[in-house]
């Protein structure tokens, strides 16, 4: 099209004095409309791979925490992933609070990771922040790591009693999901 404009005469191309062809408008309009249309089609093609409505509908979990004794933990499931709920002993709370926050890789206090009035109730995802394995330490008799919290056997990440990363490759503390106490003994996660 550009090459024909170079050789053809103004009568045959509808070229105006300043070198713009009338047909350029139609060319640009048609190609733009097709381009915008093509991009609009991409949206549903990409969006269809996002979690479907049934998956989203199953993304909140209620957990009864009444039976957990100090020093014990339970595993629940939240969004198809393990959720650790742990009642800390007074010694563990003290140990977590005694740790200097500034020296941590991901500085957070125990109070920031728990809810007011329930500082001994540590709710975290059971998903190592390194590459997603399930850390040990929630079930009876499992290794708790050098800092008495959780230990991920895949690549050796050690978490302390507040679920904070202390040693190993994991970049951040175990994630604390959004949750609320719906009563003294029940939490709703998500």
């Amino acid at each position: 099209m550009a090459d024909t404009a170079a050789t053809a005469t103004p009568e045959t191309t509808g070229e105006t004095g300043d070198g713009i062809r009338r047909r350029d408008f139609i060319d640009i309009a048609a190609v733009s409309a097709a381009g915008v249309g093509g991009l609009a089609v991409l949206y549903p093609l990409i969006s269809q791979m996002a979690p479907s409505k049934d998956v989203l509908a199953a993304s909140s979990t209620e957990v009864d925490v009444s039976a957990i004794q100090p020093g014990q933990a339970i595993k629940a499931v939240f969004r198809k992933q393990p959720l650790f709920v742990r009642r800390l002993t007074p010694a563990e709370v003290q140990e977590a609070n005694a740790t200097p926050v500034g020296a941590l890789r991901d500085p957070q206090t125990l109070a920031e990771r728990t809810q007011e009035g329930h500082e001994d109730m540590l709710v975290t995802m059971g998903v190592c922040t390194h590459l997603g394995c399930v850390p040990l330490g929630a079930a009876e008799g499992e290794v708790k790591g050098e800092f008495g919290g959780y230990f991920c056997p895949c690549h050796g990440s050690h978490y302390d009693t507040a679920g904070r990363i202390r040693k190993g490759p994991a970049p951040t503390n175990l994630e604390v999901p959004e949750y609320t106490f719906t009563s003294d003994t029940t939490i709703q996660v998500g």
């Binding site: 050789t7 045959t12 549903p44 093609l45 479907s52 409505k53």
Partner: protein
Amino acid sequence: MSFPWAKEYTPANGFTKFLDEKLPLPRLVYNAVGAGYPVPRNLSYFWNFGVLAGFFLVLQIVTGIILAMHYAANAQVAFATTEHIMRNVNWGWLMRYAHANGASFFFIVVYLHIFRGFYYSSYKAPREMIWLLGVTIFLLMMATAFMGYVLPWGQMSFWGAKVITGLFGAIPLVGEPIQIWLLGGYAPDNAALNRFFSLHFLLPFVIAGFVILHIWALHIPGSSNPTGVEIKSESDTLPFHPYYTVKDGFGLGVALILFMTMVFFLPNALGHPDNYIEANPLSTPAHIVPEWYFWPFYAILRAFTVDFLFIPAKLLGVIAMFGSILLWFILPWLDRSPVRSGHYRPLFRKFFWFGLIPAMIVLFICGGAPAEEPYVMLSQLATAYYFLHFLVILPIVGQIEKPEPLPYSITEAVLGSDKKAVLGENASPAV
């Protein structure tokens, strides 16, 4: 092949030069659908449907791959996952409706493509191979569409699978074992559903392969045209790009408007409500018919109601149904008229418009109607004409017909005289 005046691809920069040496893909595209492919200047909109068929094949593959991400081919959950796609998956309704209606539109454009081939005798030498490959594509499409319709596992899916595999049961002696082998059981169930899913996924790629051969074969003699007169000189042609990319683009726009209207406003108009009832092996729907695009052939199948000599009616129907399409394979050798275009064939035109087309319409209507009078008798008459047309009328018409005078060239057909067309190099063709 290339006409001597075809424009040659010249790489514009270092990168395309590199590419042209190592893998000349841009050159291939340029010579296939670019300025390097000279095309008759007089193509009508009937020459749009090849590109449209290609578009709908791609659409079916894209939406189909997406549906397969959310669907499970298991008789326990197939129906439920189909509803899951409709209700839970983001835009799943759009994907499924586009796929279901895309199948219909694929057949619409392919039927118009075949119609074009019949009227303008696109199957004649030197284009026989294009035609043979096209008929093969059509058969593959039918198989693919049938198996796809089974996947939602509704009532029509199930009974369609049962009836169509039952066709093979008509084969003498080995029919029943073959039917059981095809289904992997005595009735359609998990085994059948799984293999249909597997093949439904595979066959579109086989079709795509045949489409490549179809286009390759087309580029040897080049496109035919409404006059049926072969290209004689450069003034008979235009480069494919931009002239026919634009013309095809316009046709695609019109097709998409119609298609999206169906998808958004009438998504189930071409389907059957019974297919929203889960498959039930114990109850056949009162009126089972295949999808609309199979109706003419279904009518031929049902037209045979009486045994002939030692051949049972069931077998006759099956032979006739498959034969009605297989006979297209010998069409280039049945129609021996040297004139291609129906435009210049007065006698052929009469039989075409007043014989073949009405017969096809009658078969179409009867195929969708219940198996009762007057539809049975009408489909018998139409079936008789259908075979008569191809096997008797076409060969005879080719012998006795006196064709109307053909233009000397495409240019003469377009401009009235070929002398006018022998213009200077800068003449702008048909702006």
